[in-house]
Amino acid sequence: MRSRAAGAGLERMPAPKRSPLVTSVTALRGMAAGITMLSLAGMTAYAGGHLHNPTAPLQPAAAATSAPARSTTTSSTGRLQLTRTVPTTTSTRAITSTHHS
């Protein structure tokens, strides 16, 4: 067999020096699922305790403009600590018109 392989011009594959750390496929699957589930559980716990994130990169602009009439004071969605200022503008406009009239 060996001489046939050598005769065919094939190089012998070097034998592995060390056996792998984990040989059980089930254990590997468990590790992969564990890492994923740990990240899910960890992030759930973290996100639950950190609803407010002032350094969040994105801020839906529509949230500040679409529902201004509902809140007249500073409102926080629990995430980005948005301050809805549109109602103040509305009331100022009303006062100004009264003042001019």
Binding site: A8, G9, L10, E11, P16, R18, P20, L21, V22, T23, S24, V25, L28, R29, M31, A32, A33, I35, T36, M37, S39, L40, A41, M43, T44, Y46, A47, G48, H50, L51, N53, T55, A56, P57, L58, Q59, P60, A61, A62, A63, T77, G78, R79
Partner: protein, 185 residues
């Protein structure tokens, strides 16, 4: 209720990225032998298959949570057409693209028997683009990746993928020469 879907969106988004990292790393390690110290190829293959399947429900939960969240203003159209969201359109659009690409890769895997090897491989390689898009989406849109510890973990994961990808690319260049040697009668 709004807080709950927001928490689900954040946690499933991060976990989906973790699953995608594991899937991409194990997929590249199948050819490059980068995880030979950890396990034999059969084990690495099992991890690749499992994490690809783990990614799917996490990504679906991430998307559904964002759809249900009234604050995020993400609509059904944003799942189909990227870059339409009124804010952070680039960052969120990258998420749409990565979702679509990984979905295509997964479907092509299920239909592998009816595809040619070259066709399947060409589609499967889209997962590299999908990973880059998902990683950038996480960095640019992820609320929690601004936190130093999580950012460090994300960059470490990105570096691991880059190292394994480099090893995979260098092995790929060597492999045609090796196959020619084997083919010599």
């Amino acid at each position: 209720m709004s807080d709950l879907v927001w928490i689900i969106a954040r946690s499933t988004g991060t976990a989906a990225l973790v699953a995608l990292v594991l899937s991409v790393v194990s997929g590249m390690a199948l050819r490059s032998g980068a995880l030979a110290w950890l396990s034999h190829n059969r084990g690495v293959r099992a991890v690749h298959d499992l994490t690809s399947l783990l990614w799917l429900p996490l990504a679906i939960a991430h998307v559904v949570a964002l759809l249900l969240d009234p604050y995020s203003k993400v609509g059904l159209i944003d799942l189909v057409v990227p870059f339409l969201v009124s804010y952070g359109s680039f960052a969120i659009g990258l998420g749409t693209i990565s979702l679509q690409l990984v979905a295509v890769v997964l479907v092509s895997t299920w239909l592998r028997a009816s595809l040619t090897h070259q066709g399947w491989l060409a589609i499967h390689r889209l997962s590299y683009v999908a990973f880059v898009a998902a990683f950038a989406h996480g960095l640019l849109a992820g609320t929690d990746l601004a936190q130093p510890v999580l950012a460090a973990l994300a960059w470490v994961a990105g570096a691991v993928v880059a190292i394994v990808a480099f090893r995979r690319a260098t092995r790929a260049r060597q492999s045609p020469a090796r196959s020619k040697t084997v083919a010599i009668p």
